[in-house]
Amino acid sequence: MIYIKNLSKVFKTPKGPFTALDNIDLHIPKGAVYGIIGLSGAGKSTLIRCMNMLEKPTSGEILINGQNMTQLSGVALRKTRQKIGMIFQHFNLLESRTVAGNIAFPLEIADWPKHKIAERIQQLLPVVGLEDKANSYPAQLSGGQKQRVGIARALATNPSVLLCDEATSALDPQTTESILELLREINEKFNLTIVIITHEMKVIKEICTDVAVIDQAQIVEHGPIESVFINPQSNIAKDFIASVFPNKLSPQLLCELAQHSNSQIVTVNFLGSVASEPIISDLIQQYGITVNILHGNIDRLRSTLFGTLTLELQGNTESISQAHEYLKSRNLKVEVIK
């Protein structure tokens, strides 16, 4: 679907060259909701803007549906862009046009006949839940409604890809949730590939099927969200996960725990159906150790469940290592903290 190969972007600045993207390689499969997360300045916005050539890469290739974007220009580039939808952090709606007029805009650009445009608007309004707002102006809408117009506008030409550049960053948490829910529906209903740029792990957790973590112009980690969440490799990915699944113990508690002998503190990450199994009672009954729950958290990870548990295991060394074996046999990721 989308292949990014050796992509680099170097900006010329008065202070000298600045590398925004450094040899990025990425494959985004068809139908995926692909999240690209990074701190501000990591290069993620530049990356998504390169995908539709709003930013010209310095080197490398971007293939979308087999089309090499970096070799397109003029009319050919415009035609291809008509098949790539994009939504923005600040919505970027035309203030002089109504909701219907904004949705009509990309269709006018693509030279659709008038009656077809009217028909398409009527199809799209219910998709984004704005049936009663066709004649309202953007200034009369809330942030969430504006983004819904942005989404309808981006979907108008039946694109094969939807690029989302920090699409929920200007919205409050509740509105963010409803917009994410809408994107998820669209992804499932139209099998539309969605690329999401964000700095919020919450967005990744809610709807993404895959995630890439970008840091200092490079992709440091990528894969299906389940595997990245359960077994993060980079520190930055761990920090991002901790932002939605906090598992840090307070220093005071750690101090108290340090007094205990024959004890070990572990963090267990688990996924899916394991969440509903009686792991802890098994540990206690089968291995004769004491288990003290210090911290726990279970939440939805797109369509499965993901949880973290921080446990104190008390017992002799042998039974603790047996407990480890048991946890591993259940496909749980165990990390020893102390």
């Binding site: 415009r78 008509q82 994009m86 923005f88 035309l94 203030e95 805009f105 650009i109 200034a139 690029l163």
Partner: protein, 229 residues
């Protein structure tokens, strides 16, 4: 006071006014409307060009921007009264004469067009770069961005600009009287100043005040109505 009353009740007085004022009013409106339209025909493309060729816009071209900007600045710095005289050969070439109402339109346009270009430029710069970027991402051509994004999105400031330009041109038409342009300003000078007819001066100025108020009111109302912010 009694003298004034006697003057106003004399039909001959009103008859003399009606010989002068309507024609002058017509000349003023003719000069103002035609000049404003022509100034916009020339000024809008220049303003658009200034914006789209600037750095980071849709067709960046520093040379076009710099050269056009300099020409505009030069024309804007020449005092109107000097332009009026300096353009006499050009006017003669263009309309066959350098005297009269139509001839006055030439210097009016030459002086107003660069001003319009700057007004249009500043109006179009108010259109957010995000909206332009959105249009680009949808595959809009530069031409589509100009007439579907830049101009419609800047409708309100553009209309306010038209009101400002029209009012400016009204003020300049008074000076155009110097080349036999006619109009209300000319009447004010010919009768009011040269022949000590203070009443004529007051009447023409009052008419001008009403016209200016009316144009500004229309401009403000229309701009407000078309703004959907």
């Amino acid at each position: 006071m009694e003298g004034l009353l006697a003057m106003f009740s004399d039909p001959a007085y009103w008859e003399s006014l009606s010989r002068v004022i309507p024609e002058a009013l017509y000349e003023t409106l003719y000069m103002v409307i035609v000049s404003t339209i022509l100034a916009y025909v020339l000024g809008v493309p220049m303003g658009v060009l200034l914006v789209i060729t600037s750095e980071g816009h849709i067709i960046p071209n520093p040379w076009v921007e710099r050269i056009l900007g300099t020409i505009i600045n030069i024309f804007r710095s020449i005092p109107f009264i000097i332009l009026l005289v300096a353009l006499i050969p050009f006017t003669t070439m263009l309309v066959g004469t350098s005297i009269g109402t139509t001839a006055a339109i030439v210097p009016l346009v030459v002086s107003a067009a660069p001003f319009v270009a700057r007004l249009v430029e500043s109006s179009l710069r108010e259109v957010s770069s995000g909206v332009i970027e959105a249009a680009l991402s949808m595959g809009a051509s530069p031409w589509q961005i100009i007439y579907k994004v830049l101009l419609p999105e800047a409708k309100s400031p553009l209309i306010l600009g038209i009101a400002i330009t029209t009012i400016n041109i009204i003020a300049y038409t008074a000076m155009a009287g110097a080349v036999g342009g006619g109009g209300l300003g000319d009447v004010a000078i010919q009768y009011g100043y040269n022949r000590y007819r203070t009443d004529m001066m007051i009447i023409t100025v009052l008419i001008l005040v009403v016209i200016v108020q009316l144009i500004q009111w229309i401009g403000t109302t229309l701009a407000k109505k078309l703004s959907h912010r």
